[in-house]
Amino acid sequence: MINLEINGKKITANEGDTILRASLNNDIYIPNLCDDKRLRPYGGCRLCIVEVEGQARLMAACSSPAVDGMVIQTETPKLKKYRQTIIELLLVHHPLECPECDKAGECNLQDLAYEYGKPESRFIRSRKTTKSDIRGPLIELTSRRCILCGKCVRICSDHQGRGAIGLIGRGFPTVVQPAFGETLECDYCGQCLDVCPTGAILSKPYKFTARSWFLDEQDSICPFCGVGCTLTLGIREGKILRARGEQGKGVNDGNLCGRGRFGIDYIYSKKRLTTPLIKKGEEFVTASWEEALAHVAKSLTNIIKKYGPAAVGAIGSPRCTNEDNFALNKFIREVVGSDNIESSAAFGYEKVQKVMTAAFGTNNHPVNLESPLGKEIIFAVESDLSVTHPIFGLKILEATREGSRLITADSRETKLTRHSADWLKLMDGTSVALLNGIMHVITEDDLFNKETVTGIANFDTFLASLKEYTPEKTAELTGVPAAKIIETAKALAAAKSRLITLSLSLSENTKGSAAIKAAANLVNLLGEGAESLQIPAEYSNTYGSYNSGLRPDSNKPGKGLKEMLYDSESFLKAIYIMGEDPVINFPNSTAVTEKLKSLDFIVVQDIFLTATAKMADVVFPASSWGEKSGTFTNASSIDQEVLKLVDPTGQSVSDWMILKNLSLTMGSDLGIKKLADIQHELKSYHEKQKAPEGVKAFLTVHHGPAEEIDSRFPFKLVIRDILQHSGSMSTRSKSLDLVISEALLKLNTEDAERLAIRDSSHVKLSSKNGEIYLKAVISEDVPMGTVFVPSHFPYARINTLTQLTPEGDAVIAGVNIEHAGKSS
């Protein structure tokens, strides 16, 4: 810590802070236009000039380090005069279009002009008049308003690791543009919108919707991934118009990805459900709440009477709040009396928890979003965290900038592979073999932690299981050269600190429990604790819903998703589905559809008429995120409040309220009158859930080819996430739809040539489970014999092709590709 004096106030600052940083941290404002704490000092705008005692010249606070004992003045008549001149010069060219500029009212340049500007400029020259570049989706570049601070360019390349725009040209005609003046094609994170100090970069969806001073801004938690970023939402006349990130708030500290920033308009989709629906014959008819609730109550009661409560099951949602899920949990257990309940976490995060518990003996495994920082090695295994959890991905990039060595194992180029020191290009679905191969080298060379492994169960069996994974054999299985495997193993073993990170979710099929087991083994072998393995929960409330009772109790005979939806045994007669679309989102949708068809009664409460809802007997319209209050628990186990910001759509009602009303109709009282009652009870429920800690163990796993690829289905179908979407919710966002609106099948150039498939032509994709039609895109990024497809788009029905293993993993399926028109 160092001591300085600014404007007569004694302050302390961190060693290495700039004067500006030290000053802002102590709530002393110094005008600036080109500084951002996420970026390196730039010294472009010169507005942050200050007077330092003993220095003859003025210093730019943003690029001068604070020194112990400095005495600084930030507001003197001299500085005022200088700053006036700078603003005057900026305003020579900057067009004064404030009346028609969306930035007005929250524009740094406007604010500073108001504070320092003079009504008459001494300089007269033409103002910039270039037209706005409105070609790209979501983001509009208006270079005539640009003051060339370069913040957008720097945040894009230095912070986001993207580099989509540059300062093109020199001097007066310089513009911010993509290379060659092409249309902006980027991650659409919109970070440039937040950092732009003028109206040069503006959001297209928000354009001309509200003057900033009419916006009521409130903070809530993003409904998409498990990071749980704080969104600052601009609301006007009962409508959410935009989201932005604000520094100093939430786990994201002002960073946002495109999903959170642009995707929340899904709540205004025209396809939202507005009234309860009851199926009469083949058709749905609209019904009143009373009618629908009475119908469900009667039907469920009958089924319980006839078959017993165990014939009823429920599926909860990682998209719904803790309160919603806990209400469902209470409903199914207390009112129905069944214990059959689970959520899609069964295909994702639940596996992570189970493996972590088995391997480390601990119970809860929140991630630490700061964990990448300061690690010597970060090893990302077949996971693109900058896509699945973009803000966690940013932390990994930040760590690499600060000197961490990033090693990625992935089959295709991703943002992480681009920023890694080493990219192990492995074949899809072979991470178990790779990890075993790495551990083979570590054990053979005696590089593991001998003190700690003795205390971990099953070491000998585990050791024996690694024997066959010689570097040569592993190279053959994974496609990664043997030398690389040895090098990585040695680097991992020699590092002083390491982080192994993966993602595991419903929307990918390249790895399952086995990969996590192997990663956990590696961590145990190196003598590290569970904190060295970071696997974030997938959706906004996956972590919270999992801990709100969305799983069968271990000491009761309850059934999970696998038994309910996939087992041939037909104990289930009725199912209550809240905020989930199993027909689209779960593997092997043919099996799921068959199972649902066989049921006597299906209730779905959702915000959209999903494919599953279409099969229901009764559909309840639920209020979406933003229309109801509650809490989300993010992947690092932080409970965060989600606010009701706008009125519910149509007659929709909060999920927990629907369940409360249904319980009342069924003659039971859940003991809930208001939201606080659930929260109170949830708290004591969490207390009770704390189980004693177990022991550490090695969990022997082997590489198994996911599914036989035979001559009938010669291609490997790889399902991975894409940046602009998260589950199927985001596909209802008008804004995100502008960026990517359809599931495209990516296949290798040579494969396409061999099959005579042209770019953008329609193809038929078939597996032993079914067939779908997609548009094909030819790409060099895809390995031979593999096809990539994202799972997000409901209409594409990717899960028609997928398969669920007995272990509950969705695995790479064998598929065949043909011209859509060809008869088979």
Partner: protein, 158 residues
């Protein structure tokens, strides 16, 4: 194209990290490409961006900063007409206009058959000879009507 980064930047390479080294070779690479191709074709810059792992926008941004790099094919004869103060006074604009009309190109443009590129430049440092123009390396001074006709013939001659 393979870039021998260390070779290009010499002794300095020992004090730079890999990223800095790559950035440091950009200008050399531009010069090499331009020497071979006469300009910087988009596909070459894309290759360079991949090879050096520098975003395309950054590569393009750097290239556009320097006036010496071109992004469209250039003519076999580069005609530079000095429009500095002395030449301006002595009628550089007439020379420029005559060449524009004759070859049907604007300032900075190249004829369709890639025969010539016309450019106006600032002072080329021999004001005593105003008005001055250059064709590739050759200098033509004190341009008058006959000299201009001769110049046009020279340019047309392949």
């Amino acid at each position: 194209m393979s870039l021998k980064v260390d070779e290009i930047i010499g002794v300095v390479s020992s004090v730079l990290d890999e990223t800095q080294k790559k950035r440091g070779t950009l200008i050399h690479a531009f010069q090499e490409i331009q020497k071979e191709q006469n300009y910087l074709p988009e596909e070459e810059l894309v290759k360079l961006s991949k090879e050096l792992d520098i975003p395309m926008s950054d590569v393009y941004s750097t290239a556009t900063f320097y006036k010496q790099f071109y992004f469209t094919p250039r003519g076999r004869k580069i005609v530079k007409v000095c429009t500095g103060t002395a030449c301006h006074v002595r009628g550089a604009s007439k020379v420029m206009d005559a060449l524009k009309n004759e070859f049907n190109v604007g300032d900075g443009e190249t004829t369709e058959d890639l025969a010539m590129t016309l450019e106006s430049v600032g002072c080329i440092g021999c004001c005593g000879l105003a008005p001055v123009a250059t064709i590739n390396e050759g200098i033509i001074g004190e341009i008058d009507s006959p000299k201009l006709s001769k110049m046009i013939e020279d340019i047309k001659e392949d």
